[in-house]
């Protein structure tokens, strides 16, 4: 039998039992709509979650810290003198370590960092500000993956690059409650007065004044950099030595932190694992994102499963309809065979009809599921926009998202459900002895 004739015959056969085909397909419509809608909801939730989590920032970045606690002791509370000079750390992040990191495949940059280990106040005119001040072991802050909004990212002695949010941290201590606070200052190119404050053992406050010139403002990254003031590591080392009153041995004490940049997102977890194996603590947003993703994959599987159960019920409906059809049309099957249809022809016709019901139902289900998703989007977004207007958070842009593969997959799946549920009835039809089929009343 020609394929075109086969399809024509299947369509004719479906067409002459429109009511029953439609009723049977309704089950598939509901099942497919459930699959499409629920999986779209899962995907949509994942997307808006990822969007909201955009602030966790740079996925190609690994933050490395020394491990505190007993070596191999699994982070005990006993603080002891480690091999390094700093109490409690197992291994210092020193220059050899940095070289080891840099040699790992995929690593594009390694930046040692240290914080200012004491009180440091910043003044700009009448304004006073605090920021997270960090020394970078590179002369270009761009190595961290940040971009400049204005000015330069190149650091030299006595200069700083500040995050986009830093100006907002500056306030006028003399403004009384109720008075309009001054607008955030434009700090680019300005020189800040920095005051380092420490206390001697007998409680006397000692101050040291330094000047810091802001040479660049970083673009907003929704990450750590937004709130940070980056300075050359040597400057911060000098401040810390002043605080401690002694020289710092980087070889022995190590750096507080290192940032390892990886070229390819897919290699990030590998590199992090290798760093962990060396005895450091490597943290990456990637592992967090993966955790979230696997949660949503579970969610989608559960949602999809609920839809699949609905489809399974529909499959029983198709099987029943086909079994009935074959009983009713037994004589017709006998006739088909008497006039020369092969078993395969009969099988194809009945399987095709079952697949057709699945396909029609799938088509309806995809349309229904998709439209329902759009309606939910409109309603939910209106509601959520109202909510976030109150909370001030950015509103989500979608609640339900249908990826392109989903309707295609659902359609194929619904058709397949039809084929599978039609298989047994169709096989029975195909293997009927013609004479018995013809005599059937």
């Amino acid at each position: 039998m020609r394929v075109s004739d086969l399809i024509a015959l299947i369509l004719e056969n479906l067409g002459r039992r429109k009511a029953r085909v439609a009723l049977t397909a309704v089950g598939v419509v509901i099942g497919t709509a459930a699959v499409v809608l629920l999986v779209s909801l899962g995907v949509g939730l994942q997307r808006s979650a990822t969007q909201q989590l955009g602030g966790i920032g740079d996925l190609t970045r690994i933050d490395v810290y020394p491990v505190y606690g007993e070596p191999g002791g699994g982070g005990g509370i006993v603080v002891m003198e480690g091999p390094g000079g700093v109490p409690g750390i197992q291994q210092p992040i020193n220059d050899q370590t940095l070289e080891q990191f840099a040699a790992m495949p995929g690593v594009t940059a390694v930046i040692a960092r240290d914080w200012v280990n004491g009180g440091m106040m910043l003044n700009y005119g009448r304004l006073e500000g605090y920021g997270s001040i960090m020394g970078l072991g590179t002369d270009n802050a761009a190595d961290l993956g940040v971009t400049a909004e204005a000015g330069t990212l190149t650091l030299s002695k006595g200069t700083a690059v500040i995050g986009a949010m830093v100006p907002q941290q500056f306030f006028d201590p003399r403004v009384r409650p109720g008075q309009e606070p001054p607008p955030p200052p434009d700090l680019l190119g300005q020189t800040l007065k920095a005051t380092l404050i420490k206390y001697s053992t007998d409680g006397v406050e000692i101050r040291k004044m330094v000047q810091v010139r802001v040479v660049g403002v970083m673009a907003e990254s929704r990450g750590e950099a937004d709130w940070s003031i980056y300075m050359p590591l040597s400057d911060v080392t000098a401040y810390n030595e002043w605080f401690l009153g002694k020289r710092i041995n980087r070889q022995k004490d190590g750096y507080a932190n290192a940032v390892v940049k990886v070229g390819d997102v897919d290699q990030v977890l590998d590199v992090a694992d290798q760093i962990n194996e060396l005895g450091f603590q490597a943290s990456t947003p990637q592992s967090f994102v993966q955790g979230i993703n696997s949660f949503f994959i579970v969610l989608q599987v559960v949602f999809g499963g609920v839809g699949a159960i609905a489809l399974l019920v529909a499959a029983i409906g198709i099987a029943n309809t086909m079994a009935m059809a074959i009983l009713e049309r037994t004589r017709e099957i006998g006739l088909m065979k008497a006039v020369g249809a092969t078993n395969r022809d009969v099988l194809s016709v009945f399987l095709g009809e079952a697949a057709g019901i699945g396909f029609i139902g799938g088509l309806g289900g995809v349309a229904l599921g998709w439209s329902a998703g759009q309606i939910i989007n409109v309603l939910a977004l209106a509601y959520l926009a109202g909510q976030s207007a109150q909370s001030g958070a950015p509103p989500p842009t979608e609640a339900v998202f249908t990826p392109v593969w989903l309707p295609i997959f659902s359609l194929v799946f619904a058709t397949l459900i039809g084929v599978i549920s039609g298989l047994y009835p169709a096989l029975r039809a195909a293997t009927l002895v013609p004479v018995n089929a013809l005599k059937y009343e």
Binding site: D5, R331, G334, A341, N343, P434
Partner: protein, 241 residues
């Protein structure tokens, strides 16, 4: 002597029903020549239909063999048997077996769908055959809109559509009045006259006169005319009691 067109050898068809075995065909050895018109007669339950179905490849025998045109049906697999039914045999049933949702034309054209013929050609041929059976003006009517005799003529047209050599008819006039029946018999003898081999089962002894030979069945066996008359007499006597 030419080899016969159809040869039954040691043919049996038994139906096992629980403990009982029905010997519908109980050893038949018989030959039928080409271009003949055979009438198969016999009392009800004597195995006429069973014999015709076996010959048409719609069922398989319990034992023995059937040869048609030098081909042993036993040796055909399911696909080959389907091809045999499609190319060699045109079957006409007592109950017409038309598909109710299809027009006369579609019914006639139906077998050609399995013969890989294109639609235009199918419709052309079907119309031609409807004209032959005198129903060109009913081509677009559904079976329910046709009389019994007209439906059977549509069925005959359908049987002819793949141009088979062998026409098998199982009581083709059984559901028809005398007048319509006569028209059907006329059509079948025309087919015979055109060179086809026709085997027709009938209850009606009057129809036998159209046949070139008569096959008499009693209890699944072929019997002579004398034995046949005797069997009928016994039957009639039994019925009279």
């Amino acid at each position: 002597m030419s080899t016969p067109f159809i040869r039954f050898a040691g043919l049996r068809k038994h139906f096992v029903m629980g403990r009982e075995t029905v010997r519908a065909i109980d050893s038949i050895d018989l030959t039928i020549d080409q271009h003949t018109f055979s009438a198969v007669v016999g009392p009800s339950g004597s195995g006429k239909s069973t014999l015709l179905y076996l010959l048409g490849g719609l069922d398989r025998p319990t034992a023995g063999s059937i040869e048609v045109g030098g081909q042993n049906l036993d040796q055909l697999d399911e696909n080959d048997l389907a091809r045999y039914r499609r190319r060699m045999v045109g079957f006409i049933f007592q109950s017409f077996n038309l598909i109710a949702s299809m027009t006369a034309l579609e019914n006639v054209a139906f077998p050609m769908r399995f013969a890989r013929r294109v639609r235009r050609e199918r419709n052309q041929r079907a119309l031609e055959l409807l004209r032959l059976v005198g129903l060109a003006n009913r081509a677009y009517h559904r079976p329910i809109e046709l009389s019994g005799g007209q439906q059977q003529r549509v069925a005959i047209a359908r049987a002819l559509v793949n141009d088979p050599q062998l026409i098998l008819a199982d009581e083709p006039t059984g559901n028809l009045d005398t007048h319509s029946g006569a028209a059907i018999i006329q059509l079948l003898s025309d087919l015979h006259a055109q060179g086809r081999t026709v085997v027709m089962v009938t209850h009606d002894p009057r129809l036998s006169r159209f046949a070139t030979n008569t096959i008499r069945l009693v209890d699944g066996r072929v019997v002579s005319e004398a034995d046949y008359e005797q069997a009928l007499a016994i039957d009639a006597a039994r019925a009279a009691d």
